[in-house]
């Protein structure tokens, strides 16, 4: 084998000599361009718009921090902003139930009986359905006259309960609907994780007389950490993004009691209640800041891992 130099170095083009340095940028250019125009720049624009009063058409009037001041007073007066923020916290906490629920179903299904693969698919498939349809399905499920829930309660002589019409229940009702697909997602993450659990460690645990919950806690869960991490990330993000279900099931009602920040922002900026872009942007900024806390934590975890990998 002999290497034959095809072209003398001097005559090679500038690109050819520098291609290792230039190629990545050429390959990244379209992606970065799109992402910058539609994602990165709009974030900063929203920050700027939040300092204006603007109906989306006419001229924008600079009002400094007044939009944030108004939000502050809404918070103090326990008005819409307070309710939305409170509901966001409820969503965050309750939505995390998807993780243990998903683990539970995964453990239940991690067997090898005949037809189990079909069972796993069918348990998973609520996740594939659009949230809009999930919302419709559950608003009928809760319906006080013919809903499955009240027919079920009726068997025990209870009810009827109008879940979506009750200010104290409505948010929990919507979250329950959201937990349905989210649990399916966590389940599939854990099923994949369980598949990769080291059988030798289980055997070793059995020899040490670890059983049931003890085995789960000390031997299985530590090995499921990557799955838990991803389940945590997608559940938090999902909880803070809750919009579709609220919009479909209640439209924020009754009396605005099921609003969250994501929905309230939309309502303020783009609905029959008016086009207050600046105020909407201010709400979005608040939501963004909350989310940024989580994003920073996720990135930090990923960064540590990247360091470990090299």
């Amino acid at each position: 084998m002999s290497v034959t130099p095809t072209t003398p170095t001097e005559t090679r083009s500038w690109y050819y000599r520098n291609q290792q340095a230039i190629t990545p940028w050429l390959f990244l250019a379209p992606g970065i361009l799109f992402f910058a125009v539609y994602v990165i720049v709009p974030i900063f624009q929203s920050f700027s718009i939040s300092l204006y009063e603007w109906d989306g058409l006419g001229t924008a009037e600079y009002v400094g921090l007044r939009n944030y001041e108004d939000l502050y007073w809404e918070f103090v007066d326990r008005d819409a902003f307070f309710v939305s923020l409170k509901n966001n916290v409820i969503w965050l906490v309750m939505y995390l139930l998807a993780i243990p629920a998903g683990l539970f179903i995964a453990l239940f299904l991690n067997q090898t009986v005949t037809g189990i693969r079909l069972y796993k698919s069918l348990f998973f498939f609520p996740f594939v359905i659009s949230q809009v349809v999930v919302g419709l399905v559950f608003s009928w499920f809760y319906d006080p006259t013919f809903g499955l829930l009240n027919s079920f309660l009726g068997v025990f002589g209870l009810g009827p309960v109008n879940v979506l019409g009750n200010e104290n229940l409505v948010t929990y009702g919507i979250i329950f609907a959201g937990l349905w697909p989210q649990t399916a997602y966590c389940m599939i993450l854990y099923l994949t994780g369980l598949n990769a659990v080291d059988p030798e460690q289980i055997e070793a645990g059995r020899l040490d007389n670890a059983k049931g919950l003890k085995m789960l806690w000390y031997i299985i869960l530590p090995q499921l950490r990557p799955a838990t991490f991803i389940a945590f990330v997608v559940t938090i993000i999902g909880a803070l993004r809750s919009f579709d279900l609220i919009s479909i099931m209640t439209g924020g009602g009754p009396f605005g009691s099921s609003r969250v920040l994501a929905y309230y922002m939309f309502e303020v900026a783009l609905s029959e209640y008016g086009f207050r872009m600046g105020y909407g942007a201010a709400i979005a900024v608040v939501l963004f800041v909350i989310m940024m806390g989580f994003i920073a934590y996720f990135l930090w975890s990923m960064y540590r891992e990247e360091k470990g990998a090299h």
């Binding site: 290792q20 974030i43 997602y185 994501a262």
Partner: protein, 282 residues
């Protein structure tokens, strides 16, 4: 395997498990089965309050016929396809290139650009809403499928690049070095060496993005209105307004709207789950 395989347990436990399995599934899917039952009932069952009994007549063809021939539903479905398919192609193409650049080359900004894509992918939609709507209006693309596609491509590029980059990192780097020693140009390495190895990732991402975009509701409401450009998720609300209180038709409509991603999932299950659980195993 954990928990202990059921075959190793008593006969009683095995029987209990095998009966519990279908019962649990029925309970899990009950809300959906209810809608499926509604969708084949005749109108009269609802006026006679026969909600949960057997359908007094089997109206599958009639109800679904109404959805397909007597409403805007086919229009919405077509719009959904015309929005989803170009988005899948665009996002997968951009991110295959981006992922290649971030996965193969070492340069100082590499990790920062990668984190930009990851972070952007987690951002709440609402912080983008006003500027993106404004931009789309400015481009004259408000209420067009193109406007929606362009945004979706841009946003999905974040997640897709993360996915592609991690996949390319797992390929044997020696292949690329060998190609370089042979004097293969960098873009040819991408096209002839890396891309053929990325087929599983391309398949997984395509199915995932198809589902995500098909199911998108927020951006459909923000960037479009009316049957000429709205996808089915947004269209279903007008569909339901048209058939107010006609639960049999609303149920049939919902099922039709949900079907394409479900079909996609059952056909491409392996790829779908591989994509969704990326990183769940070390």
């Amino acid at each position: 395997m954990f928990p202990t395989p059921i075959e190793k347990q008593s006969a009683g436990a095995q029987v209990a498990y095998k009966t519990l399995l279908p019962v649990a599934l029925l309970m899990w899917l009950a809300p959906l089965l209810a809608v499926a039952l509604f969708s084949i009932k005749p109108d009269t069952d609802f006026t006679n309050a026969n909600y949960w009994g057997l359908p007094s007549s089997f109206e599958f063809a009639h109800n679904y016929g109404q959805v397909f021939f007597n409403s805007d539903m086919p229009r919405y479905l077509l719009n959904s396809f015309l929005i989803t398919v170009p988005t899948v192609i665009g996002a997968v193409a951009l991110s295959a290139m981006g992922g290649f650049a971030l996965g193969i080359y070492k340069f100082r900004a590499n990790l920062w650009i990668f984190f930009m894509f990851v972070a952007g992918n987690f951002v709440p939609f609402q912080i983008l809403m006003v500027p993106v709507r404004d931009l789309t209006l400015g481009l004259g693309l408000y209420n067009t499928k193109t406007g929606l596609v362009l945004f979706h491509i841009a946003f999905q590029t974040g997640f897709c690049t993360l996915f592609m980059r991690n996949f390319i990192r797992s390929l044997p780097y020696e292949l690329i070095e060998a190609a370089r020693v042979e004097g293969v140009a960098e873009w040819r390495i991408f096209w002839y060496v890396v891309l053929p190895l990325m087929k599983p990732a391309l398949a997984a991402l395509s199915v995932l993005i198809f589902t995500f975009i098909w199911n998108d509701y927020f951006w459909a409401v923000v960037l479009t209105q009316g049957p000429e450009s709205q996808p089915v998720t947004a269209g279903i609300t007008s569909f339901n307004a048209q058939f107010r209180a006609a639960y049999h038709l609303m149920s049939a409509g919902s099922i039709v709207a949900a079907l394409p991603p479900v079909a996609m999932f059952f056909l491409m299950q392996k790829h779908f789950i591989a994509g969704l659980t990326l990183g769940a195993v070390k």
